[in-house]
Symmetry: C2
Subunit: 367 residues, 2 copies
């Protein structure tokens, strides 16, 4: 158990944005929301999963929708009250603690804001260990945990409660309403026991985000005799897939998702080479000179070539110099059930899943 205060927020937001793999929202927006809530209500208690009682009621709180829209909408604190009341009423029980559903600039932060406002502890675990675009894409689905009763509310005061036959149906029906509500809404979902969380959650994700954020923030201050690039790849345990300049960004907002492709021209060691990264909110596939070097569910992260700050898909801009880095995903995603939910074919990428460390053929500064 420890406290999350304002000074922890910046690093968590930064590290979570890296794990967002291009999605999960803008960490700047996210941290403002979390800091505002802590300033008003005081620090938030972060529990280790092992500190949660087996029969505790845990619920994930998140924003749902296209990150681009999400950045333009305000997040009202009364939305958290609505979500808590709806879930409690339907479960016939008070909520004991909150978890983030995914790691990402916004969706790692909103649960902290919700906890500050509701006076509830946050548990150091989520359902993805990264960000994914659809709500059934959580380790909890692998564990047979129901996303419902799920509560949804918008900033106008409309609210909807779901009980569905599958998590994929929850996604389908919640996505429709999200679009009708303007493209982004707040949700509370996957009410589960402490026992279920401990069995299927991705543990220590908040702490990992914070450490990653701290390392990125101080990447140029390290005292080892290695370059910042080498240092970044070491602490992130990343595979360097490409270094280049953004030459084009193709985007489309469709079905409350941001779809697109970013084109890159090689710089440094990669001069003369070309690459592209496809995304659906999150980065899905990295292709360098005609060869696929990484796919979902592994994390494909674009970071600024100077500062190593993560760049979300909605912040991609022509001319920006970036590294493309691959990170291993949580091991549960590499099982058959995991790949059914979030493998490359689910996203329409015509390739088998091959772990990034096997696709990686060397040539970078990976350690």
């Amino acid at each position: 158990m420890r406290k999350l205060d304002i000074k922890e927020i910046e690093d968590i937001a930064l590290g979570a944005a890296l794990l967002g793999a291009g999605g999960g929202g803008d960490p700047y927006i996210g941290k403002l929301v979390a800091m505002g809530a802590i300033k008003e209500n005081g620090p938030v208690t972060l529990l280790e999963p092992e500190e949660v009682a087996d029969d505790a009621l845990i619920v994930a709180i998140a924003m749902m929708g296209a990150p681009t829209v999400l950045a333009e909408k305000a997040v009202g604190e009364k939305e958290y009250d609505t979500l808590r009341d709806m879930v409690s009423q339907f479960m016939g029980k008070e909520i004991d603690a909150v978890i983030p559903i995914e790691a990402g600039g916004v969706n790692s932060m909103l649960p902290i804001a919700a906890c500050a406002h509701l006076g509830l502890p946050l548990v150091d675990a989520d359902g993805m260990g990264r960000a994914f675009p659809e709500l059934q894409m959580v380790t909890f689905t692998i564990g047979g945990i129901n996303s419902c009763p799920m509560a949804l509310t918008d900033e106008k005061g409309n609210s909807v409660l779901y009980k569905t036959i599958s998590n994929k149906w929850t996604e389908e029906l919640a996505r429709s309403v999200t679009m009708s509500c303007g493209g982004a809404v707040s949700v509370a979902l996957y009410p589960m026991t402490g026992k279920q969380l401990k069995q299927y959650g991705v543990k220590n994700i908040v702490t990992r985000s914070q450490k990653l954020g701290e390392a990125i923030r101080t990447v140029k201050k390290h005292t080892d005799d290695i370059t910042p690039e080498e240092h970044f790849l070491k602490f992130s345990e990343g595979y360097k897939l490409f270094k280049g300049k953004i030459s084009d960004v193709l985007r489309e907002t469709r079905g409350a998702f941001n779809f697109g492709k970013v084109m890159l021209e090689g710089i440094g060691d990669y001069k003369g080479k070309e690459a592209f990264v496809e995304f659906q909110n999150e980065n899905l596939l990295a292709n360098v000179d005609g060869q696929i070097l990484a796919t979902v569910p592994d994390l494909i992260c674009l970071v600024d070539a100077e500062t190593f700050s993560p760049i979300t898909t909605d912040a991609l801009k022509y001319g920006k110099r970036v590294y493309v880095v691959g990170l291993k995903c949580f091991e549960m995603w590499r099982t058959e059930k995991g790949l059914e939910l979030v493998g490359p074919r689910y996203f329409g990428c015509d390739t088998e899943y091959i772990p990034v460390e096997k696709r990686y053929k060397g040539g970078g500064a990976n350690v």
Copy 2:
């Protein structure tokens, strides 16, 4: 108080289909569902509105979606249990009685089936006195009655509960989910007190439907010295707007609505004339030789030229010979608030509302 048994059903379905003004679904499907439920569970008690206690909890039960889709989907009895349980749980109170939301071949019948299955009485009142395509288009909206908590369920077992800021928002968010569920779902909405129902409901609509149905069924057996046409116009209190042969039907299913236009070539007294009727699930506007003869909210009904059976918009077929008949709508629709909700301009028809009896210039056999 009286009982609705199998023998009453056929006439109610037939008359309600006339009042459906082209919408409200296929009376053949509707009556099979209601008869099946009565056969299994026994007759349904029909209460006069005055027999309902002021503090009773009344709820409307209906199908939502495009009538064309509705005809192709099964209606499972367990859907009624789900709807009752959801509404009761959220209201914290048992439901005392059910009402139809509108008059129509299906939506007058499903509440009867629901009552038979749930062992609840039906009240002889609805919220339209005809059929309309959107759920906020009820006299209850004029009375400031909330459509929520509204429960929605599909045949697969998905269910959704709404609490919105306006009945128009309920429509918007329920329509999205209806489309995602395949185009037709079952809903329970407008939970209200007996007092509210008595104040704003369209009373005696079931009895009126039954009388109309009986008159249509026996239209050729009457003993007066008038023709069947004269007889039909007399008992329906209808204005004869046109008699013609269907020369074309334009259709489009869009946003879970059936949109379209039926073109007519005059026959009999109308030989050499042309007419068309525009619809959105229900008929919206009748135009004869370039002149608008009726618009919503007045009822525009197409009936078979031989049998006087109502023809729903999804049953319109090339070559069919029909009467186009105008019926006065419930008086509350003719107020300013009523016309805001269901006037011709709401439906995109570029004309003021002029009551059918004023637009009517004679020339027919109206009495």
